[in-house]
Amino acid sequence: MSLLPWTIYLSLAGALLALAGGRRSAGTARWVALLTAAGAWILTLLAATRFVPGPGLQTLVDASWIPSMGVRYHLAADGISLTLLVLTGIAATAGVLFSWNIEERTGEFFALFLVLVAGVYGVFLSADALVLFIFYEVAIVPKYFLIANWGSTNREYGAMKLALYSFAGSSMVLAGLLWAYAVGGGHGFGFADLAQATAGLSRHQQIAVFALVFFGFATLAGIFPLHTWAPTGHVAAPTAASMLLAGVVMKLGAYGCLRVALPLSPVGFAYWQAPIAWLAVVGIVYAGLVALMQEDLKFVIGYSSVSHMGFVLLGLAAANLQAVSGAVLQMFSHGVIAGLLFAVVGRMVYDRTHTRKLADLRAMPLYRLLPFAAAVFVVAGVASMGLPGFSGFPAELTILIGAWKRDPAWAAVAALGVLVAAAFTLRAIQLGFFGSKETAQQPAPVGAADHPLQFEPVSAAEKIGALLLIGATVLIGLRPDLLLDWINPALQSPLLQAALKAGTP
């Protein structure tokens, strides 16, 4: 367990080394990044083997940092954070493998990537709201440069939109935290200290503080109607960044909601519970319907992320043991599956075909040209639809059961969203990979008839990365108890119990 903080330091050191290595050769930077990401992942797994689940956070580091403001450098972990740490390790390692073909400014790319990863590890490990906030912001800046520099379609717009939404969200969080701390006369930024300070505020103020912090974090989790940064940002991002953005960074928002916002004020949560749940289910259905209409394969995946994150928010809003543990499981599951989908679309397909238009892909068709990519996409799509045997199934099922217990109407609408998800996923699979040449609406490009399309075969790095992610989703699909045994005890902590109680009528 005490190894966990080293994930942060290792990633930061790796970032410096990758930057230095990139000056020598691109290959050095790649290997440094791979070793760093894999090393940090192994650290999380080692910690996981020695992890004894229990209620409450298990302190790893606790040192005084800014004594005059009561800020402590306090890192701690419980089952929830451990789940997400392992996810970060997988996503980061796979992300490096899927960016093996970055040739331009390779060192800087991997340095920014690893700083982002370090920030993510830091958020999941923080036990002090200010430290969490700082790591959260550390993660914002690299995102902008990763997208603006190495991205594709409309990258500068997508990058700026994403950075501003993230920063606006984090400003709301900062305003809320400072409000609770300064006005409530708080002595520090520990989660319990803040909850205590908030409890001293008037009811209206508590409701406002909760709204600022929750919706600030939820912006990054892609809550409807603050989700519009996600599809544009994900589409514009380079593959590894979209894998990390959709896979892990959106979870930062959801994690912040769960760890900071919910315990902050039971009064505020009780007030906002129903609106949050309705926004979540509207997001699930709306984003699903929008995904159904997309002509760009990556936009389908982008909107599907928003739809799947809606389940996480619904789980948090329903606020019973099942729903919340399902929400955490869904964070893990979606992290893996979204990573896989973006990897196929961004790296395997787009880097070779240079198009993501469903109409073009349909005319190729890809199941002949890139059979591995097609197979992986089918597996990922099936997992994303929530079929049994993959991690999406236990996650969405527990969320739906939990939501049903709280309010059947939420569960009913969300279940509709599952149908929509099946529809847009099948459509993407069918049009993107299993079309036929006859379906081409326009005449084929000049010369295409004489020279059948040839693509460079899927590389070993991509195959390893894909198998890694598929392995993870299948493993958790078959044995969800592996993670649930970590998550459920963590939900017994007094702070989270108080929050859950507030959400139970």
Partner: protein
């Protein structure tokens, strides 16, 4: 009162060192180095000046504390910290000053810079209205001169004239205000004025005088609506002059006026915890802060010139710093000093990058930064640190400045009153600010260089100086207690 000349002499050691340094710079330049090249003369002048600044720093460090010469000067922790801050910022400014065509008399330029620093040092400690005014004028007059030092550009002359006219007007207001204060309270000693006000209450005439003082304050720190000189001066003045004006002068200005307002006129502060508070100078400062925050941030969005953007961002930062001034009475000087000094570091750094870039070509528009990451990775990395610190991204020092100031402002009666609203407004506007800062960084780190752009060679001293400023910003960001804990 027995005049304590030896105590005064010990307390004025730093100022003595600076003035002697300035004289040595002038003397050596006129005698020994007269026939050397301009670059050599500048190098010598800068070395001597740097030695003088270091000697002054040692003298501050070792010098006496407490009231000096019957309270004309006060060397409390805030004064000492500000003096050290001014010296560090001056040293950094000297480090990025470069030999350029516009500096036809390099020794005079450096000497006047040292005179400005002398004035700023006195401003940090002055506690008697007469000395306050003299220190302010010494600093201001020197700064007018170096703002207009570039004879080859009309912009520079325009900057100096604008700065001088606005400054002269502000000084007139200040002097008028001081004379009213003297007339009402019968003293120019700050402690006695404070005692008078707390006994007699705030006279309406005194409030008029305070508004006049605030006009000068607004001018000195470039707060709206007294900001009009700032964009032109930042744009027209030689970059190193602008660096000094934007950093050390601001830090000393905040210390000076905060000392006037709180220990001096604290009893006439009024109340900003609720809208129906009693009258005083705090509500006026609140209005100035709100105007600065709004105007600075929104006007910066429209800028295409890098220096003008920095100027409007400076106005926005002045607004946030004024929140620190408002919170001084309750939270002490730590948030204000931390914010002002780290802001100064980032600004000196940003202007240092501009100076270094001007050596290799143009650096007027934001788009002139294009491809900086190729042309000079060091400059690009340093600029990223400075700009992100200005934007308030943790773990850089700029974040903790905002954090400390805003939480101090929120403690002034919570969100019920103007102070709390201002803090929330400032947090909201930081998102707006991020946009224009990212526009700058996008050019420097993402865009590809122009076709005719060449790599930039950064002189070793300037490179070291910029790296030192960047390291300080990271250091104070990682260990904010190093500064906050001083008080």
């Amino acid at each position: 009162m027995n005049p304590d000349y030896s105590g005064l002499f010990a307390a004025l050691g730093p100022e003595t060192a600076l003035v002697l340094g300035a004289l040595a710079v002038l003397g050596l330049d006129l005698s020994v180095f007269r026939s050397r090249t301009r670059a050599d003369r500048l190098r010598l002048a800068l070395s001597v000046a740097a030695l003088a600044v270091l000697a002054a720093g040692a003298s501050v460090w070792l010098g006496p504390r407490g009231p000096i010469y019957g309270g004309v000067l006060i060397l409390d922790p805030l004064a000492v910290a500000t003096r050290l801050g001014v010296l560090v910022l001056t040293l950094l400014t000297l480090g990025v000053t470069r030999a350029a065509a516009e500096l036809r008399q390099p020794a005079e330029y450096v000497a006047v810079m040292l005179f400005a620093a002398t004035g700023l040092m006195l401003m940090a400690a002055a506690q008697q209205l007469l000395l306050v005014f003299l220190a302010l004028e010494l600093a201001s007059l020197s700064l007018y001169v170096i703002a207009g030092f570039d004879h080859s550009r009309r912009d520079s002359a325009e900057a100096a004239l604008k700065y001088f006219l606005f400054g002269g007007m502000a000084a007139a207001f200040l002097l008028f205000g001081f004379s009213l204060i003297y007339g009402v309270t019968g003293s120019i000693e700050l402690p006695r004025i404070a005692a008078y006000i707390s006994l007699q209450g705030a006279d309406p005439l005194l409030l008029v005088a305070l508004v006049m003082v605030l006009v000068a304050f607004g001018f000195k720190v470039a707060a709206a609506p007294f900001h009009l000189w700032a964009p032109d001066v930042y744009q027209g003045a030689p970059a190193s002059s602008a660096a000094l004006i934007a950093s050390a002068s601001k830090l000393a200005g905040f210390t000076l006026f905060t000392r006037l307002l709180w220990p001096g006129f604290g009893a006439a502060a009024g109340n900003v915890a609720s809208l129906t508070g009693e009258p005083g100078w705090l509500p006026v400062v609140a209005v100035i802060a709100a105007l600065s925050l709004l105007l600075g941030n929104f006007a910066a969005l429209a800028q295409s010139s890098l220096r003008r953007l920095l100027a409007y961002s400076a106005i926005a930062h002045a607004g946030a710093l004024l929140l620190g001034v408002m919170a001084f009475g309750k939270s002490g000087p730590a948030p204000l000093f931390y914010y002002a000094s780290t802001y100064g570091l980032a600004t000196v750094g940003a202007f240092g990058v501009i100076t270094a870039m001007e050596a290799g070509g143009r650096c007027e528009e934001i788009t002139d930064l294009a491809g900086l990451h190729r042309r000079s990775p060091l400059l690009a990395a340093c600029l990223a640190v400075f700009i992100l610190s200005l934007a308030g991204i943790p773990p850089l020092a700029g974040f903790f400045g905002k954090f400390a100031v805003f939480s101090a402002a929120l403690r002034l009666g919570g969100v019920a009153g103007p102070a709390g609203w201002l803090a929330i407004l400032a947090i909201a506007l930081s998102t707006v600010a991020l946009y224009y800062y990212l526009i700058v960084l996008k050019q420097a780190l993402v865009a590809s260089p122009a076709a005719d752009a060449r790599p930039i060679r950064v002189p070793r001293v300037a490179a070291l100086t910029l790296a030192a400023a960047a390291v300080l910003i990271v250091w104070f960001g990682l260990f904010p207690s190093q500064l906050i804990g001083l008080f």
